[in-house]
């Protein structure tokens, strides 16, 4: 029996901002916190909360450093994060194929 596509959705990833973070990191080695905030059009606090969820799930890691005297935070996808993103996109496409774009 075919599994329903929703069974392949990941609770930690199936959210606009968190999926956006992983989408950006699927195209890059690392992204600055400020870049993610701007490209995903969210506030610092909102992004922090979502990044924390991804860190706790082992899907991204965070490196804090400095650019000159200013602190700079970089976010990087783990191997598990990249794999989970690919699987989430596959599940979403299956849903869209089955039920239309919505």
């Amino acid at each position: 029996m075919n599994r329903h596509p929703t069974t392949d959705l990941d609770e930690a990833v199936h959210q606009r901002v968190r999926l956006g973070v992983l989408a950006v990191l699927s195209e890059a080695d690392r992204a600055a916190f400020t870049y993610l905030r701007d490209v995903l059009a969210v506030t610092d606090g909102n992004l922090s909360a979502h990044v924390r969820v991804l860190v706790d799930a082992g899907l991204v890691s965070v490196d804090k450093g400095f650019e000159g005297a200013r602190p700079k935070t970089w976010v990087r996808a783990t191997d598990a994060g990249r794999a989970t993103f690919r699987s989430e996109i596959k599940a979403l496409r299956a849903l869209v194929d089955q039920y239309g774009g919505g």
């Binding site: 606009r16 890059a28 600055a32 490209v39 996109i89 979403l92």
Partner: protein, 189 residues
Amino acid sequence: MDDPTPGELLHRTNDAARRTTRLVRAYWLPQLLFGSLSLVGAVVALLLTPTHVGLVWLVGAPLAILATAFWSRGRSEIVGVAPDPRPYVIAGVGIFTGATILGFLGRGSALSFVGPLLVVAVGYLAFSRLARSRLLAAMAVALAVGALALSVSWSLQLYSLVTGLLGSGAIGLGAWNWFETARSAHNEA
């Protein structure tokens, strides 16, 4: 708003990924540098000797690679998104090593010019995959055709013509990529 449909979620996700891809895959500086180097090599081939052409590349290529590495690193800090440098480093070192070895092995024959051109063509193919650029893939084909033409009918004048044309093409490609990258950044500002 917090509960988009799968279609909307996919669309937004693709949009964020596309914007990042455009920033991460910028390649205008290496194209301008290597295109210029190619033009200098073409002029030197006409005015001086094959040894001088080899020297232009032996000195110029490592400098261009270093400049590209610094540019890429600095750019990542500015735009806030960085590509994985490993495949680029492997491709760059592979091209330089392969081209240098063939250049030395073929000393005194057409191989010392045709061999490196073929290696660079393979390198362009690798970069076209990394940057997902059809234009870079087209350059790879142009380089391979140029190398083939030189292997059939070798002369220093033809080498100068071929590398002059390819160098101009690379500079044009670099200028186009710079324009596209600047336009994307402007639209997103």
